[in-house]
């Protein structure tokens, strides 16, 4: 057997391994928290870059680590470009909403920024993935994403409409279609990815959770329809209000319990369907451990909510009455600044609670439980000459959207 020179015999299967620790991870997060607050959030590009660098570099697949080469400054520039485009647009809408003198136009214009953000987010979702994929290196070869964010966004919008009218039952096929698009346009070196998962298996596994979550809402909806027949307009409004209240509360409570189960199911299905040439994956992590990560996160959120509320009440009772309002402009500025900082403290705690629980735990879980089959495929992979665009997707990435 040769030791140097030619590659050793390739094992048919290899396992993933996560070499990081939660202590190190929290160390990064807590160091960044102060900077994040001091810069009112602008530091978030550095935080996400550091977090990715840590997660990627501590992930080993078949004994080799991943590497993230993204640059925070690039994301910041992407963000500034986004502002330069959106700023004037928002300004135009603001002026429109003021000047028309027409109620309907004004209302529409005041919602325009929100309406604008939805398609933009979908576009950004694909672009952000492009940025992550293009800045991931494994065994000296870059991953690469092609395809059009516009086409992806169009597909996604159409599927959203279908999902809406089927009460979400078409979701597995929607997801399969979108995964196929993404993976078909993802390359490892010159090896094209694909997605072989189909809607049915996901439908079978997801049907019971769906029934528990949305079943009652659908029933309530049809009951509303039945009751509304022959009722006056005011009665219908009252019924609709009650429906929205009840279904909202149910979705919130049941959703918090069921969403983690759903997320685990979809993740396993997605990983099992991923291919790069003949390289395949499987991941047999337990649903319960994903749930545990989520429930920890929810508990932290509740805790943060309680602490923030107590702090807010204490400030209202003790500090605000003693604050000499209306006497000095400077003192009022300080008040505004303190409020803004308080907002960022709470927002940062919420984000980091997610990063430290769901993000980290689910990542580790996936890596440690994954198996790679057909490793010889990556040994045969070559660099792809055309894939070098370094800055691709940075504007979308600046929005910080998406998972892995």
């Amino acid at each position: 057997m040769s030791v140097t020179g030619s590659p050793a015999a390739v094992p048919a299967e290899a396992r993933g391994q996560f070499l990081g620790s939660k202590r190190e991870y929290w160390h990064i997060l807590s160091r960044d928290a102060l900077l994040l607050i001091a810069t009112l959030g602008l530091y978030r590009f550095w935080v996400s870059t550091e977090v990715r660098q840590y997660l990627w570099s501590h992930t080993e697949l078949g004994g080799e680590q991943l590497e993230y080469t993204g640059d925070a400054l690039e994301l910041l520039v992407g963000f500034l470009v986004l502002l330069a485009v959106l700023g004037p647009l928002v300004a135009v809408f603001a002026v429109l909403s003021l000047l028309t003198g027409n109620y309907a136009v004004a209302t529409l214009a005041s919602y325009a920024p929100v309406i604008l953000v939805v398609p933009l987010s979908v576009l950004a979702l694909y672009q952000a993935r492009r940025y992550r994929v293009n800045h991931t290196i494994f065994r000296g070869l870059r991953f690469h994403q092609t395809g059009s964010a516009w086409i992806y966004a169009l597909r996604m919008s159409l599927w959203l409409i279908v999902n809406f009218f089927t009460f979400g039952l078409s979701y597995p096929w929607a997801r399969a279609s979108l995964e196929r698009y993404k993976m078909r346009h993802t390359f490892y070196g010159d090896v094209q990815g694909s997605f072989v998962g189909s809607g049915w298996p996901l439908f079978r596994r997801g049907f019971i959770p769906w029934l528990i979550l949305l079943g009652p809402v659908v029933v309530m909806f049809f009951m509303l329809g039945a009751n509304a027949e022959g009722a006056t307009e005011a009665q219908v409004q009252e019924l609709a209000g009650a429906f929205l209240d009840r279904s909202g509360i149910w979705l919130l409570v049941a959703g918090a319990v069921i969403y983690p189960i759903f997320h685990a199911t979809v993740l396993r299905w997605r990983i099992a369907g991923m291919r790069f040439g003949t390289l395949g994956f499987s991941s047999g992590f337990s649903t319960w451990r994903v749930c545990k990560a989520y429930y920890k996160f929810f508990a932290l959120l509740v805790l943060i909510g309680i602490v923030a509320t107590i702090a807010a009440v204490a400030v209202q009772r003790k500090i605000v009455p003693a604050w000499p309002l209306g006497t000095s402009v400077v003192i009022e500025f300080i008040g505004v600044m303190l409020l803004v900082i308080a907002y960022f403290v709470v927002a940062t705690m919420g984000t980091f609670a997610y990063q430290g629980t769901v993000r980290f735990d689910v990542w580790r879980l996936i890596v440690e439980s994954s198996t790679l089959r057909g490793l010889d495929q990556i040994d045969r992979a070559k660099v792809h000459a055309g894939h070098a665009a370094r800055h691709a997707g940075r504007i979308g990435a600046a929005l910080n959207l998406g998972g892995f």
Binding site: G140, G335, V383
Partner: protein, 377 residues
């Protein structure tokens, strides 16, 4: 003990996906990486350390598009390689730290700038722009605000299953008579106020206790406040106060200021995308400071107009005192409270010259008629 000058490494050449076992030799100026295919040399100065777990040493070429990587997994040999790289690595890490500090410093400076511009710059700009905007340009803005308030009130009426219009004074004789008295009183005050534009007054059919002056000279007196008032001169004070806002163009100034603040904060903090709550809060508080000064000026205007008409300029203060007794606005809410502390306002109004024997703006009979302007019959 001799320091080894070569050792084993794992080489990813950036062209093939298969790792290669190589020998790494430490030459004077470069790392020599020798595989079955040949030798690659990396200048120490061009090499950068990349994040890797544990004791593993992972190297690449700094500022290069090349994805070739060298890994040294033997910790002892790794330490030796590191000593050759140290100068360079320390430099790279220090420059990265410097860059990061610069970003933080600039962000803090930016935040301070945004706050200063929002708090001092925008009001000044609004003040400078105001004379440049013709009064006629306010009209569409006022119409938009008017339409929004009207729609809100009409929705409220519909909820109560009342099929009445927003404007009072059009539903039957008592309403007509009440509105006529209102208009007579309004025009009298308007005449004394000597405004450059004609005001369009409305009595709004809502129980909300308020009155508003919109850009372009539209004034809404809500029926709710009429119900709370005990004398025509109190109402006169309220109307004259709103005419003060029209005279000073406070509505337009508010629009300029609010648009500026939300735009500035939105852009500066990336609020276009999220965290809208903060923009609103900042706007509320910064605007608040603004309205305090404007309210005080409108109060003064009100007392001057009432004084000119020989009515009681201090009646307006009675209203505030009654409100304060009835429902003290809790001090808790003062941070976001839209008006200056009522006690301060009362004191300021009472400090203006009084009228010795005031003539009420309306007779008792007229006053009673006016109160019926929204009676619905």
């Amino acid at each position: 003990m001799d320091t080894p000058t070569d050792g084993p490494g794992t080489w990813f050449d950036g062209v093939n996906g298969a790792p290669q076992q190589v020998t790494v030799a430490l030459e004077d100026a470069a790392l020599a990486i020798t595989s079955a295919q040949g030798t690659t040399r990396w200048d120490y100065a061009a090499v950068e350390r990349l994040p890797a777990p544990g004791h593993r040493l992972r190297l690449g070429l700094a500022r290069s598009a090349s994805t070739a990587r060298l890994e040294v997994r033997d910790p002892t040999f790794g330490e030796v390689v590191k000593t050759r790289l140290d100068v360079r690595t320390v430099e790279v890490e220090a420059s990265e730290r410097r860059r990061r500090h610069r970003v933080v410093e600039w962000s803090i400076a930016g935040v301070v700038a945004v706050v200063l511009v929002g708090a001092v710059g925008l009001p000044s700009v609004a003040e400078l722009m105001l004379p440049l905007i013709p009064r006629s340009a306010e009209t569409p803005i006022g119409e938009t605000a008017h339409a929004m308030i009207r729609a809100g009130v009409e929705q409220e009426l519909k909820k109560k299953s009342l099929n009445a219009p927003f404007d009072c004074g059009e539903q039957g004789e008592r309403e007509l008579a009440g509105k006529a008295v209102f208009l007579k009183m309004f025009r009298k005050l308007e005449g004394a106020a000597e405004l450059p534009i004609t005001v369009r007054p409305f009595i709004a059919r809502t129980d909300t206790i308020n009155a508003v002056a919109l850009p372009g000279g539209i004034v809404h007196v809500f029926n709710g406040i009429i119900g709370e008032l005990q004398s025509p001169d109190e109402l006169g004070g309220v109307i004259a106060h709103e005419l003060g806002h029209v005279a000073h163009r406070d509505g337009m100034r508010g629009v300029l200021h609010a648009t500026g603040v939300s735009f500035l904060f939105g852009i500066a903090l990336g609020d276009v995308i999220g965290s809208g709550g903060m923009t609103v809060a900042a706007q509320q508080i910064l605007n608040n400071r603004h309205t305090r000064i404007e309210e005080a000026a409108a109060d003064t205007f009100s007392t001057q107009v009432m004084h000119k008409l020989g009515a009681d300029p201090h009646a307006f203060a009675n209203m505030f005192e009654r409100f304060m007794r009835a429902q003290r606005p809790s001090r808790n809410m003062r941070l976001l409270y839209d008006h200056p502390a009522n006690a301060d306002r009362v004191a300021a109004i009472r400090a203006t010259p009084a009228v010795a024997n005031p003539t009420p703006l309306l007779t008792d009979q007229e006053w009673q008629a006016l109160k019926q302007a929204c009676s619905g019959s």
